[in-house]
Symmetry: C2
Subunit: 520 residues, 2 copies
């Protein structure tokens, strides 16, 4: 573990990472931590908070850029280890590394831009009757130390230096990460990169710590710790809702940003199918099987209207799935949950198996699968649309637009919905937009949900149970807003005001003055 | 009750309002509602949601302005009834009415301004390798139907058409209000004003409903109802935390914005006391006794450093308190809680009574009270600083700045902290600013916490238990953000995009394009 600037070998037994491709454990031993390790990391984070949150925009941006640089400099050692621990290809890990350092650099530029401060001024009105209006100035400050839980499916981009950590550090929050047990070596490498950037920038050592051990002890103790003011999590619905419960039960409840489960429905409209059934099917199967289906944005449900176009789609998709191959999943746990999910659909009365590459006998290998069910059957048993984490999807065959609408309405909150439309379909879809906007965080036209851009307009979020909090995104520029809170200064002398609220605008940031945006 | 465009006389028994000044019940009888009334109001709100949230900015702004106009036109009938039901003076009610209509008008202008939509664009990069970047557009939409709980202490500004309702309606959320039982007649009058504005603007009747009855049945059923997507509440800590618990226990948890309890510490620094002890004391007592102390921003704790200045402050404040008079409190419940709180301090071992206008024998009258305690005693028993809702305050005498800092650190989250400073005090305060920023939502220099401006830079919020959620404010322009969530549109054709995201910017609003703010 990395607690502040120390290395700590935990005393709660040893754990090792596992190579799902070869089915072997990986050296070395890692020592699992206990509650006093959690306490030490959190107390250090608390000590670091007041100084870290007031670092200059420039210092903080440099710090984020330096983390990116240190990660890049880990070179092949990082790619090798992450690939061994996850079974993901080197190319995929390299792509994810690019995304991770790009994300850190984006947040560096967001920090410098300063719009996140939300600096706002109400000019005093000393002559106003019956009461004068005081001088009021608002800025946002960091929420406090944040606990981040790394996800197994993105060992870099949603882990130790992933989006939650990057946006929390950008906001001015110290971060305590609980490493995911499935990529301990990757976590250590990235953790050391951050630790070294903390030291190089002369920041308080408590700005970052990395813990490892059992979720039940370390993870829960972390969320319960009084110094922790917020939680970022990506993982299972059970894991996320457990943390939500713990956070709500604290004597002082704290926000939990949990990104959990989503089946990312794809809606196929008649005209688009007519023109493009085979091409859509090909792209769909690519999206279902990408990364062995282990994406939060994996399309697990497809809705289509019965007809010749849908038949062509079915045929093409089934062929494409059948010609695919099984591949190593992230961990034995994920693999066995996938096998159970596929078996559940296979044995469901009204579900038809369109294609399945069976791999049940082969270690951690998960084979792609495609099922079909009638809309009426699904409406009678909505659990058939529950997430099967992996390369499996179910086609829901609807007789009418009305039925398609009913199925969409019965799905719970989702990260995304993808619409395949052409020509006259648009009018049909128009009436469904309000429903889709209520259900999901991102609406995609003629594209697939996998592939989440790290940019300003991205929303990687959505109504429960896709996430714990539909008001925010965990990917993209506005992810920083999760870790901020406003403070107002009334009639404060300049000596007590932060730079962002000084009259002269020394940071040269956008500010709101009496309701008008201005940069002067 | 007003459920959509109907009037409903509830069947769960009758309740009446009470005049705390005369100690008599007020005509007429109101019929308390049951769970099916709740269900009907919530289902109507759900039906109204999709159309209401897409009303044009102009329509929605007009609607808010019309509510303000209808309230103003209630004239003396409203002032008479509110004054009778609360014991507050007509002047106070008139002031509060001004604030309430001003608030509605502020939100009308905020709606028109359109910055709340947060319209954001990432331009497509079709040539980017390895993957092209899609066209991404983000806007914020309303969260869904909101439950609002009126507060007893502001029968207009924090009640049926108060800040929560105004900001939720501005965001595009239908609102279901649970009227506070202590001002039923006022609630009905204001509710009718809103109902009539809904009809005049041709909106769906479900945009607004007003329920009344027992908190335990009506209130809890409202927060549990699946159509409700968020809660606004101002009241006691018990009430607020109960709603937080219910909301977290739903199968789909929802956010609760509860503004609960705060003692709003005042910190007196040596130089300011030396120059101004008596003037500060006079203003302090005015703030403690304003509205019979029944403000969330009432200053219930004062910290000062021992010395000649503090002695002068004590003397002056005690004299001022003693020369005050008891006045009718809002309700028998609030009055008896106040009496219990004052008795608790009177009988506490280490607490000295500096002044108290005793009124225990006189109906609902609450008399002002001032106590003193040593910092060490308070640190040993922090409950002595717990909120006593009413015109009571406790002075904590500190020997050193360090002790003052310890007391401030041991206080829980607060809405405000007020600092009295002069000359050299500023340097002393500077070192305390990080602590204060962590503890409170608004830091006031040389002023008192009562008097909350409705403006752009106001923060009426703060860490738990002052509120349930320190990331937001319940007063001021940014209160609208509580009721919004982002939705992203990827590669959507213009026909499926809302006006706010059309290329030509037909609403003429500020938007973010590739990270740069622009109005073109």
């Amino acid at each position: 573990m990395l607690i502040g600037n120390s290395e700590v070998f935990g005393t709660q037994g040893t754990i090792r990472a596992f190579n799902p491709t070869t089915g072997t454990e990986l050296e070395p031993d890692f020592g699992a931590g206990n509650e006093s390790d959690v306490d030490r990391a959190c107390m250090l984070a608390q000590c670091a908070f007041d100084s870290y949150r007031e670092t200059s925009l420039e210092t903080r941006a440099q710090f984020l850029r330096l983390i990116a640089k240190e990660i890049r400099e880990l070179g092949n050692a990082l790619v090798d280890r992450a690939s061994a621990e996850t079974g993901l290809t080197r190319a995929r890990i390299e792509g994810e590394r690019g995304r991770t350092v790009g994300q850190l650099e984006l947040f560096a530029s967001i920090v410098s831009d300063g719009r996140w401060i939300g600096a706002t001024f109400d000019s005093p009105l000393p002559e106003r009757k019956p009461q004068p209006r005081p001088d009021l100035r608002l800025r946002k400050i960091a929420l406090g130390p944040i606990a981040v839980f790394g996800a197994s499916n993105f060992p870099l981009a949603f882990s130790v230096a992933g989006g939650d950590t990057a946006s929390a550090l950008a906001a001015g929050c110290p971060v305590v990460v609980k490493a995911h047990s499935s990529h301990l070596g990757t976590s250590e490498l990235v953790g050391r990169a951050i630790q070294s950037a903390v030291a190089a920038c002369g920041l308080h050592e408590g700005v970052f710590s990395l813990l490892l051990g059992q979720g039940k002890t370390i993870g829960q103790a972390l969320v319960k710790h009084p110094a922790i003011r917020g939680v970022g999590f990506t993982g299972s619905r059970l894991g996320g809702t457990t943390l939500m419960r713990i956070a709500a039960d604290r004597s002082e409840p704290i926000p939990v940003y949990a990104e959990m489960s989503s089946v990312n429905p794809i809606l196929l409209f008649p005209r688009a199918l007519q023109t493009n059934a085979e091409r859509i099917a090909k792209g769909f199967v690519d999206s279902v099987t990408l990364g062995v289906g282990q994406f939060c944005t994996n399309p697990g449900v497809v809705l289509g209207m019965l007809g010749e176009g849908l038949e062509r789609f079915k045929r093409a998709a089934a062929e494409e799935i059948s010609s695919g191959h099984a591949a190593a999943m992230l961990s034995p746990t994920i693999h066995s949950a996938y096998q159970r999910g596929v078996e559940r659909l296979k044995s469901a009365k009204d579900v038809i198996e369109l294609a399945h590459v069976d791999s049940s006998e082969c270690g951690c290998l998960g084979g792609p699968a495609l099922f079909a069910v009638g809309a009426r059957q699904l409406l009678a048993d909505p659990d058939l649309a529950e997430e099967v984490f992996g390369p499996s999807s179910i086609l829901v065959e609807c007789e009418t637009l009305r039925e398609m609408r009913s199925v969409a309405e019965c799905l719970p909150g989702q990260l995304t919905a993808s619409l395949f439309i052409d020509g006259a379909d648009v009018e049909m879809v128009r009436t469904m937009m309000p429903l889709l906007e209520r259900k999901v965080g991102r609406i995609i036209c003629n594209g697939y949900p996998t592939g989440v851009e790290v940019s300003f307009a991205m929303v990687h979020g959505g109504p429960f149970p896709a996430t714990s909090d539909s008001r925010v995104t965990s990917v993209g520029a506005t992810a920083i807003e999760r870790f901020l809170r406003p403070v107002c200064y009334q009639n404060a002398p300049a000596a007590l005001l932060p730079d962002s609220l000084q009259d002269a605008n020394p940071l040269n940031i956008w500010r709101l003055r009496d309701g008008k945006l201005t940069q002067s």
